[in-house]
């Protein structure tokens, strides 16, 4: 499990039914690209988050396949439709098998 990995998500607390909201997600992760070399000249192996998904009440909003070219501390901003009150679930999948999750509820009003 990569250490010190912390997800941070910004979702409005409420929206009107059917509104499009902006979601910002950030996760602290080194995203070791596999290109860097250590002091001995050996390549530091790749260790990145390779996939990010966002679901709302079980339905997929966005699914991103990530490559080493995504910067350290991957940031994504996108828009989601809010048909009803519910819960957003954000999942990040690490190369080493770890899965990081964050959920945010949103109300209609």
């Amino acid at each position: 499990m990569a250490s010190g990995v912390k997800p941070r998500v910004k979702v409005p607390k409420k929206a009107t039914a059917g509104e499009a909201i902006t979601i910002k997600t950030l996760i602290s992760h080194k995203m070791e690209s596999g290109q860097r070399k250590d002091d001995d000249g050996n390549a530091i192996p790749r260790s990145i988050i390779n996939r990010f998904t966002c679901d709302f009440n079980g339905e997929n909003v966005v699914d991103v396949k990530m490559e080493p070219a995504i910067s350290t501390n991957p940031y994504f901003e996108f828009e989601a439709l809010v048909p009803e009150a519910g819960e957003f679930k954000f999942t990040w999948y690490d190369d080493d098998g770890s899965v990081y999750e964050e959920t945010k509820s949103i109300a209609i009003g």
């Binding site: 860097r36 339905e59 490559e67 070219a69 995504i70 901003e77």
Partner: protein
């Protein structure tokens, strides 16, 4: 070793080969990646927009945005990076707009390409050239 003319030519040829290889490899894998994504279909221009800065001060974190009206999937490639693939965005039914922003690493000045698979099954692409002052691949 003695620096004879024979050695010089051999070194020159070797250097050319080494210089040529990475360039060809990068082009090959980005073509392969595009072919895998489109299944060999023709890629036109149209409903896809790629927003990237003209000059990136820091190649480690370059903000980009892709947006489209009707794309189901958008693939972004950085043609000059050691591995061209950057990200592939798949939009579900609840995606309000087929748009996403993120920050990427660019090794040096290069072209960025965004290819979108539209709802009707066609493919469109947009590209943008980004000048990078300090490369972002740990080099």
């Amino acid at each position: 070793m003695e620096f004879t003319r024979r050695n010089a030519i051999a070194m020159g040829a070797g250097a050319l080969l080494v210089a040529g290889l990475p360039l060809r490899a990068s082009a090959a894998t980005s073509d392969e990646a595009i072919a895998a994504f489109t299944g060999g279909a023709e890629v036109g221009t149209g409903d896809i927009k790629l927003t990237a800065p003209e000059i990136a001060e820091n190649g480690n974190t370059v903000p980009i945005e892709v947006s489209s009206g009707s794309a189901t999937e958008i693939m972004v490639l950085a043609l000059g990076n050691p591995t061209p693939a950057v990200a592939t965005f798949k939009f579900g039914k609840l995606a309000a707009s087929r748009a996403a922003s993120t920050r990427i690493r660019l090794a040096g000045t290069q072209d960025l390409v965004a290819i979108a698979k539209l709802e009707d099954g066609s493919f469109v692409q947009a590209s943008s050239t980004v000048k990078v002052t300090i490369g972002g691949c740990g080099g």
